[in-house]
Amino acid sequence: MNVAVVRFPGSNCDDDAFHVVGRVMGQPVRFAWHKESSLGAADAVVLPGGFSYGDYLRAGAMAANSPIMGAVKEFAEKGGPVLAICNGYQIACEAGLLDGALTRNASLHFECRDVHLAVEGKPTPFTRAIPAGRVLRIPIAHAEGRFVHPNIEQLEKEGRVVFRYVDSAGGTNDAANPNGSMANIAGTCNARGNVVGLMPHPERAAELILGSDDGKMLFASLIGETGRRV
């Protein structure tokens, strides 16, 4: 599994994604530079977190127009798996790879802490190996993660809500929602299910030394450690 981690100016979780794919998961991984217009040989793409272009104007807006995003779109259109984390999620939404928008947290503060996530919706390359009903504990770290979509019902109906903020027992309620996202949505996928975006950082919860390895399941699912190939 060759994984390309896209590096935008201002990305700052690029090394982290690289570390998890390369060292924790033991997969071949390399960076793709934002100025390139081709991804090269890649079996999966990660759009990492950070503050691309400083998140100036709107988070993800400028990176969405980078040359490399043309290649990422092509890759996604062919069904290639794309994992968009935090700023990557914002970029994917701005680029139209995913629907919706990520807006200023209702608290108006940057929020860095653990949250709990329910895994739902249609099977995706990043979630199909996660046992049903499992609640994940994964950190968030963002100021603009409030998910807004003009037609949530439609998204829900199509099974495109992949992650939802819940409490540790799996209950959906306002207290478990760290940013005011509509319907507690933490992550979504595209219609085909191959592009998955989420605000929480699975790469920060992929090793027990950091307090949780629940996030590892997303990467394991991709690699098909459970025996399923993507």
Binding site: D99, A101, N105, A106
Partner: protein, 79 residues
């Protein structure tokens, strides 16, 4: 030539920042404040010899300056 671009949240999109400002103004004693909405005001300096400024500005807004999922925009051109 200069363009002034105004980007505002679409009606119905929650504006927690605006709400916070309205509340804060209330606390400061401005009891007349009923609501506040916060948008962006962007001044773009343009070369004087552009053709089809209007067309370009519309594109700038659609492609970058506004996120039309949640925002709307308008602009003025000042010669």
């Amino acid at each position: 030539m200069k363009a002034k671009v105004y980007v505002t949240l679409k009606e119905g999109v929650l504006d927690p920042q605006g709400q916070a400002v309205a509340r804060a103004l209330g606390r400061l004693g401005f009891s007349e404040v009923q609501d506040a909405r916060i948008g962006k005001y962007i001044e773009v300096q343009l070369a004087d010899d552009v053709k089809d400024v209007e067309g370009h500005l519309k594109q700038m807004c659609e492609k970058l300056l506004a996120n039309t999922v949640i925002e709307e925009y308008r602009y003025e051109i000042v010669k």
